[in-house]
C-alpha cells in the first residue's frame, strides 16, 4: 500500500494547505475558490492579505483554465490536460503555485512577459497596467496579458517561474506567487 503518512507528513513539513492535481474545469475553479474563501475566513486573516490571496489565486487558475480551453486536446495528448495547484502558508507568507503542460512555442512569449513584469517598479507596473487595459481589445482574453500584470501588482514580489522540458513538443510550466502575510 501507498505510504499515506509519508505523503501527508511531507505536505505538513512543507506547509502545504492545499494540493490539487487534475484537470481544472470551470466548476472545479468555483469549488476551489469557495474552499479557499472559507479557509481564509476561518483563519481570520487580515482583510488585505485575504483579498490579495483570493484575487491572485483567481487569476492564476484562470490563466491555467484559459490556456487549456485554447489548446486542442485529443485522445493522444489527453494526459497533458492535468494541472496542479499548491497553496502554502508559511509563518510570514502565502505561496500560490500552479503547474501545467504547455507547448514549447508559447514559452518565449510567456517568459518575456513575466521577465518584463518582474523588471518593473510598482509605479511602472501601474502605468503598464493602464497602457494594456487601454489598448487591449475585448477579444484578447487569454494570453496572460493583464492577468500577469495584475498578479505582480497585487503580490508586490517577483513572480517565480520555470519551464521543465517534457518532450520535443511540450514542457511543464510552473508559476509561484508570494503574498506576504
Amino acid at each position: 500500500m501507498l505510504n499515506v503518512y509519508d505523503y501527508f507528513k511531507r505536505m505538513q513539513d512543507e506547509n502545504i494547505i492545499l494540493y490539487f492535481k487534475g484537470e481544472i474545469t470551470n466548476n472545479l475553479l468555483t469549488s476551489i475558490l469557495q474552499l479557499i474563501d472559507d479557509r481564509l475566513e476561518r483563519r481570520s486573516e487580515d482583510l488585505k492579505v485575504k483579498r490579495k490571496v483570493f484575487s491572485i489565486l483567481l487569476e492564476c487558475l484562470q490563466n491555467v483554465y484559459n490556456y487549456q480551453q485554447q489548446y486542442a486536446f485529443n485522445e493522444e495528448n489527453e494526459h497533458l490536460q492535468s494541472a496542479t495547484l499548491i497553496i502554502k502558508r508559511t509563518e510570514d507568507a502565502y505561496y500560490i503555485i500552479t503547474g501545467n503542460y504547455m507547448i514549447n512555442e508559447r514559452v518565449s512569449m510567456l517568459k518575456n512577459k513575466i521577465d518584463k513584469v518582474n523588471s518593473l517598479s510598482p509605479e511602472e507596473l501601474k502605468l503598464f497596467y493602464k497602457e494594456v487595459i487601454n489598448t487591449q481589445g475585448q477579444s484578447d482574453t487569454g494570453g496572460a496579458g493583464l492577468g500577469i500584470i495584475d498578479i505582480a501588482r497585487k503580490s508586490g514580489e517577483k513572480i517565480e517561474y520555470s519551464f521543465d522540458e517534457v518532450s520535443e513538443k511540450h514542457c511543464f510550466y510552473s508559476l509561484q506567487v508570494k503574498v506576504s502575510a
Binding site: L33, R51, K130
Partner: protein, 124 residues
C-alpha cells in the same frame, strides 16, 4: 424601459439597473468565467438608457472582487457613461472599498485616472 435586477452569486455581482431613478449599481463579486457574455445585457441596457437619460445618473460600484477580464468591462461601461456630461447631463460615480483593501482602492484610482469622470472613492 425595463429595469434589470440580478441577484449576486459566488462569481457574479448583484446588478441593479434602474431607469426611473437613473441608477446603475454593481456589488459583490465580478469573477465570471466569461465576462463579455455577462456584461453584454448590461451594456445593451446602458446604450438604451443613454438615448434618454435622467438629468442625474448615479453609478455605484461596491465590489469585493473583480477579475482582469471584468476590469475591461468596467472600463468599457465607464467609457459609455463618459458621454453623459458631454451632453450636459449630470453623473455621480461612487467607488466603494473596504477599509484596508488597498487593491480595491488602487483600482478605483486606476479608473479615475483612465476616465474623464469625477469618480468618488469612498471607504466603507
Amino acid at each position: 424601459m425595463e429595469n434589470i435586477v440580478l441577484e449576486g452569486t459566488g462569481r457574479t455581482p448583484y446588478v441593479n439597473l434602474d431607469f426611473d431613478k437613473g441608477r446603475i449599481e454593481l456589488a459583490g463579486r465580478s469573477i465570471p468565467e466569461n465576462s463579455i457574455t455577462f456584461y453584454k445585457p448590461i451594456f445593451d441596457w446602458v446604450d438604451k438608457y443613454l438615448e434618454n437619460p435622467k438629468p442625474l445618473t448615479q453609478v455605484i460600484f461596491n465590489l469585493e472582487y473583480f477579475n482582469t477580464s471584468s476590469s475591461k468591462c468596467i472600463l468599457d461601461l465607464l467609457r459609455k457613461l463618459e458621454r453623459l456630461p458631454e451632453n450636459g447631463h449630470q453623473i455621480s460615480v461612487k467607488w466603494y472599498f473596504d477599509e484596508g483593501d488597498e487593491d480595491m482602492e488602487e483600482s478605483g484610482n486606476d479608473f479615475k485616472s483612465l476616465i474623464n469622470l469625477d469618480i468618488e472613492l469612498i471607504v466603507k
